[in-house]
């Protein structure tokens, strides 16, 4: 059998996905047996122009991590799409927008103002912002255009598969790679993970009827070790998050933050979580309900930590 041609790329991401890919350890040898890596900026010395020169559909699979937040990333996504038979969104940012997606609460100017002007560590020497093009004496220089809105990979190009997680667990990565190596890919559109149900299904804590009278933050107390965190007032997003990770966070008393994205078929993970929490607030008194909910310090960051660009509203009003 001919060896697979594999490309890996990163866009708006933190680099954690690369580390996660390496976490497969010595199984990377198995991968190397089955596949040639033709492009992987973080690890191998293939150049942009090498890829550009390839025929369309000459790469078998591209693992693309990171969201799309500037013109270069969009360009790379489109190019790799054209060159690849199968496009896989790897990790929360490519799948749902991820942490960079929270940038959709602001627009470009607001982000620039903060980063290049308002932060304490910025020198106050006027309003110097990045310009997409600059005429230097040596000629015109260009940097990518920064967008107002962060997009998921599939909002820019067609995507065949999704590997969830921030970053994906090593076993999730291997599940996908193994399927690739064996040529046993699931139906198009599949989110590859060990579970289609929510994290609760992986979680060994005891669950009962939920009635929340007070919402807590993790530093406030040490939760009971065997009882559902949500029942103890910690906003564990596990109820609204696809499992497959093994419920690692709740097992060590940290509420799930939702990185594996919504459960199979769910449109808008954050809305589902919000609606679930609102349904179990234990009060009929409007004022009391308001008080209880006012303890949610960062509602968007809690409900949509990894999925704002993938939500029905996608972003805050741009003005």
């Amino acid at each position: 059998m001919a060896k697979l041609k594999l490309a890996l790329y990163w866009a708006a991401s933190c680099g954690g996905c690369e580390i996660a890919q390496l976490l497969i350890g010595d199984r990377i040898l198995k991968l190397a047996e089955a596949a040639d890596i033709v492009f992987w900026p973080v690890a191998i010395d293939a150049k942009y122009k090498d890829v550009e020169a390839m025929e369309d559909n000459s790469i078998d699979v591209c693992l693309f991590n990171g969201a799309i937040r500037n013109s270069e990333q969009e360009h790379m996504a489109r190019m790799l799409r054209a060159k690849s038979k199968v496009m896989i969104a790897y990790g929360a940012c490519a799948c749902r927008g991820g942490i960079p997606g929270l940038g959709n609460l602001h627009n470009r100017q607001q982000i620039f103002d903060t980063v290049y002007r308002d932060t304490a560590s910025t020198e106050k020497n006027g309003n110097i912002f990045p310009q997409p093009s600059y005429k230097a004496p040596e000629g015109e220089l260009e940097i990518p255009v920064f967008y107002d809105t962060v997009s998921t990979l599939n909002q820019v190009v067609d995507v065949e598969y999704y590997i969830p997680g921030c970053p994906p667990e090593e076993k999730t990565t291997w599940l996908a790679l193994e399927a690739l190596i064996q040529g046993k890919l699931p139906p198009r559109g599949t989110v590859i993970s060990h579970n289609v149900k929510a994290v609760c299904d992986d979680c060994s804590r005891k669950r009962d009827i939920k009635k929340i009278k007070k919402i807590h933050r993790t530093y406030e107390f040490i939760p009971e070790p065997e009882i559902c965190l949500l029942e103890q007032g910690l906003l564990c997003v596990g109820v609204a998050t696809r499992g497959g990770c093994g419920a690692l966070c709740p097992q060590v008393s940290m509420p799930c933050t939702g990185c594996y994205g919504p459960v199979e078929g769910v449109i808008d993970q954050g809305a589902h979580f919000l609606s679930a929490v609102a349904s179990v607030i234990d009060s009929k008194d409007e004022e009391e309900i308001r008080t209880i909910l006012s303890d949610v310090r960062d509602p968007v960051g809690t409900c949509y930590r990894y999925s704002l660009p993938d939500s029905l509203v996608r972003r805050a009003s741009i003005k």
């Binding site: 149900k197 929510a198 299904d201 449109i267 589902h272 349904s279």
Partner: protein, 661 residues
């Protein structure tokens, strides 16, 4: 780009039918244009407009297209689905299509009736229709369901409401269990002397009905009993009844009453509103049904001190049994009628009226007992010192129409006030003042009764009573009450001296209404009475299928209205029982067990108790018979595992997209 992934893939052929509704729609919306635009959408095979889609000709258009063109999804653009959805569903059903493959776009109430005629109104109609078209693509057939109905009915409460309902059902030769908390049936009506507006003697019209209950072989009467638990659902309720120990064997007792006669211990009689006395072993009133006494454990000296047993010595039937214990009985019934009635308002908190402090201030219920020939005074009106009163004040709306107590009108007080004026005149010929806010005499013959009493020289004072005080004793007439009251017609304060005052107190929900509501899963309206399914169109049904509410437990009302409701509920129960089965709603929630993570978020949310957790499969499930399709659970499920039939996320989003995009 649509946010919806995947579409049902069968060959979809949509028929769109746009109604003119005479001029109702057509004068505002260009209906032909709406049909033309619908036709342009890919999935639409045929689009027609017609003057009255709901007419048989209009219905035939749909029928023909289904039969001849193979239309398999139908959109009707017409009036509100509340009006004709069922009609059009039937058209589909008769043409061999599942009735839920229909979507109604409301272009009358939601468009034509709201807007000026013109292109904008037409555009809105276009969009509503497009939403319906996009939605109906995601419709799938829904199976309708029915449940078997066990042929027996439980009636809770044996006042006139419960008696009437039980008799109606039993007269159709169907089994009724009538459970009454007190030792006898009869309820409040048994306490009255005469009833407005006809002044029939209450006992004369009630006693025959009570006797009928005792005689009817289809009625299983359980007095001194209470329902403690109800499980199951419409058609198949399991009911647990506690039969309190009477300490008298019902099978042996012959009702001779010797025990009552010989019992040396007395206490206040609840039936006489505590104005009279009864024995520790007693029947509440002479015509009691069943005519079997009970021993009041709290008052019986044998139970309190261990000595006496006088009754036992005299009972020839050997019916006394001090060893008796409460008995729990399980019943299986198909329908339940709740007829638990009302309590009367206790006016003690309105201290300025002196009730409880001034001996000649009475409540209406006490006055009923004073008037009754079987009451504590043998029907003679007497003041605390034994004299006959020469004047009376009747005060309306005590605890009713009063923001501090009950905001509602108790509906019967104006009428029984008139009754008291009449009775007082008849019995004493004395002076009567009626202090009212408004006179509400709305029943049949009620205004005429008001006129009649007006002709009897009763003084009507329109205003709200401020205080009742006791004046220093008058040398000739003894002690007098002094009423201070605003007369809004004369425009000033008036002082009225009378011998006796009657406070016409509000009818209130039973003190234990909440407990009963919980046992039966009933809702309560703001005023605390049990909540009907629809205040106008379904006043005896409740949101709990198969459970009906009648009489004053639903809200204050007079005897004629009570009896009418009781008959109505009996008819509803009979309709279920005689058919032996009952259709329950098709629009219900379903939990996809491949997605349920057992988080239990939904478990406590269902207002109808339809969700339960299946420990074996480790998933939550919906009992389809109990589910009303409210989708409270669907909105809460963080896994999107719950979807309510015909209101799936894809249907709703497709409709929104159709309207907006």
């Amino acid at each position: 780009m649509s946010i919806l992934k995947g579409k049902p893939d069968d060959d979809i052929k949509i028929g769109v039918y746009v109604c003119h509704c005479g001029h109702n729609i057509a004068s505002t919306v260009d209906v032909e244009e709406v049909a033309r635009r619908a036709k342009e959408l890919g999935e639409v095979s045929v689009a027609r407009d017609y003057v009255y889609m709901c007419s048989s000709k209009g219905q035939n258009l749909i029928r023909q297209d289904i039969m001849q063109l193979g239309i398999n999804r139908v959109v009707v653009a017409a009036c509100s689905p509340r009006l004709y959805e069922q009609t059009f569903q039937n058209v589909l059903r008769e043409s061999g299509l599942n009735p839920y493959l229909l979507q109604v776009a409301n272009i009358r109430e939601q468009c034509a009736w709201l807007h000026e005629p013109g292109p904008l109104a037409t555009e809105k109609a276009n969009r509503l229709v497009k939403g319906a078209i996009k939605r109906v693509i995601h419709h799938s057939p829904i199976e309708e369901q029915s449940v078997p109905v066990f042929p027996a009915t439980l009636v809770i409460g044996g006042g006139i409401a419960g008696i009437q309902a039980a008799l109606e059902i039993a007269n159709s030769q169907q089994i009724v269990y009538l459970v009454e908390r007190e030792p006898s049936i009869g309820g409040h009506m048994a306490q009255f002397d005469k009833t407005f507006p006809t002044l029939d003697c209450s006992a004369c019209i009630l006693t025959p009905k009570m006797n009928e209950v005792a005689r009817n072989p289809y009625i299983r009467l359980m007095t001194y009993s209470e329902v403690v638990e109800v499980s199951g659902y419409v058609g198949n309720f399991n009911v647990k009844v506690r039969r309190k120990a009477r300490y008298i064997d019902e099978d042996k007792c012959v009702g001779c009453g010797i025990c009552v006669e010989k019992c040396p211990w007395s206490t206040e009689s609840e039936f006489d509103a505590d104005l009279g006395v009864r024995k520790a072993v007693y029947t509440p009133f002479p015509q009691a049904i069943p005519n079997i006494p009970v021993i009041d454990k709290e008052r019986c000296v044998y139970f309190l001190k261990g000595k006496c047993r006088a009754c036992e010595k005299f009972c020839e039937a050997k019916a006394i049994n001090f060893q008796q214990e409460d008995l729990f009985i399980e019943l299986h019934v198909g329908a339940i009628i709740v007829a638990t009635g009302y309590d009367v308002f206790d006016p003690t908190p309105i201290s300025q009226y002196g009730y409880g402090r001034l001996p000649n201030v009475f409540t209406s219920l006490e006055f009923e007992r004073l008037c009754s020939p079987s009451g504590p005074t043998g029907g003679q009106l007497k003041l605390a010192d034994g004299r006959e009163p020469k004047s009376l004040a009747v005060i309306h709306c005590v605890g009713s129409r009063d923001q501090n107590y009950n905001a509602y009108c108790s509906r019967v007080c104006c009428m029984h006030s008139l009754k008291y004026s009449h009775l007082f005149k008849e019995k004493t010929g004395g002076e009567v003042y009626q202090i009212y806010i408004d006179m509400r005499c709305t029943g049949k013959g009620y205004e005429e009764f008001y006129e009649r009493v007006q002709g009897e020289h009763v003084r009507f004072i329109r205003g709200k009573l401020a205080t009742i005080t006791a004046d220093s004793p008058d040398s000739e007439t003894g002690e007098k009450l002094s009423l201070s009251c605003e007369d809004t017609l004369l425009g000033g304060l008036v002082n009225i001296p009378v011998d006796m005052a009657v406070l016409c107190v509000a009818l209130e929900p039973r003190h234990d209404a909440e407990q009963v509501a919980q046992i039966l899963r009933l809702g309560r309206s703001r005023d605390g009475f049990f909540m009907e399914r629809h205040p106008k169109l379904d006043p005896v049904a409740t949101m709990s299928e198969g459970i009906f509410i009648v009489g004053c437990c639903q809200g204050p009302k007079d005897i004629p209205d009570t009896v009418a409701q009781a008959s109505a509920a009996a008819a509803r129960a009979l309709a279920m029982i005689v058919r032996g089965k009952m259709e329950t709603g098709a629009i219900t929630a379903a939990i996809d067990e491949t997605l349920c993570s057992a988080c239990k978020v939904c478990n406590a949310l269902c207002p109808y108790g339809a969700i339960f957790f299946d420990e074996v499969s480790n998933v939550s499930r919906v009992n389809r018979i109990l589910c009303k399709g409210c989708n409270v659970c669907g909105a809460a499920c963080p896994s999107g595992a719950i979807s309510t039939r015909n209101f799936s996320e894809s249907q709703i989003l497709a409709e929104i997209e159709g309207v907006l995009v």
